[in-house]
Symmetry: C2
Subunit: 204 residues, 2 copies
């Protein structure tokens, strides 16, 4: 196991998990990777950034070939659907950034992808529906009804994506070291809690 | 809402949740209630302590009458099975101790019973199977096989009990403010995390 401090953050849509990850990375003074930055890293590695557009937003249940192979073997990119190729590229990039040094990674099934070879703290951030809808109304300038639909749909897609590419169920406590209800929207409390876990795990 | 600091702890069998609750109560200098102490409180209130023996260990799926009423109305004790009467008594006692002052309550569906009238921090403590089995082998002087069976059976019963008497599913993150993986067995870290939540929630 490497001595890098790797914190993966899985999060419900509208729960504020990305903000918590970003603040945590700032406070720990380590790089922060979300979808956009993983795509950028892929581009720097020679893959087209555009390949990644909306890969996680699509349902990925139509690849018979992939479903016959295991997600753990998804690193080769031949004989698979476009979605599966993209997942394989993302897998490589997530492993690459983790092997380069300490970092915070939001989403990308990183908790699953790094479980074998990296020592990680895996966090799940969630919130009650009311709070998520309120956040998305504000962030996306949507009506309550539109925001509620988007919250439901996005989390359904995230769960489908994760459940398809891993042998786990998204949001179940057993995947994580800690699950924090961020309904209060107080990112600082969550950051403080995760920091205390980081300090405890990687104390010398 | 009362200003009492009420912390409810739900826990998988062998996860060390009871120990965390006890330490937390000591550090906060507030009373700690587990099954035994709730039974004692019931006795002091005039109920027979023996009534409570093993109530949570039995499957409680045979009361048609109860399943037709709602758990929220389970405070009357007429026309219900013995299990349901015991649950109703426990409900009263859990509410009584919470209304008396700050406390830590382990188990007893307290997270559910107090949700309407009390301001609580609801915690779920879990651990991986290996760690739970190891703890129970040691605590109960059992073989690995016996301990593994007991862990599985006890959590099945806890889930059945909770799911029967509430409209929730035991162990799902949405019931709790935080869920902590205690596989490392480091009660102090969990206590520290919960304390930081307590200080944050009830800061003046």
């Amino acid at each position: 196991m490497s001595k890098h401090k790797i914190i993966t953050i899985s999060r419900q849509y509208g729960s504020g998990g990305r903000e918590i990850g970003k603040k945590l990375a700032e406070e720990l003074n380590i790089p922060f990777y979300d979808y956009k930055l993983i795509s950028l890293a892929a581009k720097e590695s020679g893959y087209s950034e555009e390949l990644f557009t909306n890969v996680e937003s699509k349902k990925t249940t139509n690849s018979l070939l992939f479903s016959l192979s295991s997600a753990a073997n998804a690193r080769g990119i031949f004989g698979k659907s476009l979605d599966d190729e993209l997942f394989a590229i993302q897998t490589e990039i997530v492993r690459k950034v983790a092997s380069e040094g300490s970092c915070v990674i939001v989403g990308r099934c990183a908790d699953y992808l790094l479980q074998e070879d990296f020592d990680t703290i895996d966090v799940f951030i969630y919130a009650d529906s009311e709070s998520k809808v309120r956040n998305i109304m504000e962030r996306k300038k949507l009506s309550e009804k539109e925001a509620a639909e988007l919250v439901l749909l996005t989390d359904k897609r995230r769960a489908a994506y994760y459940n398809y590419y891993t042998d786990r169920k998204w949001g179940r406590v057993e995947n994580y070291d800690i699950a924090i209800n961020n309904s209060s929207g107080d990112a600082d409390l969550a950051v403080q809690i995760i920091k205390s876990m980081v300090e405890h795990k990687w104390r010398d």
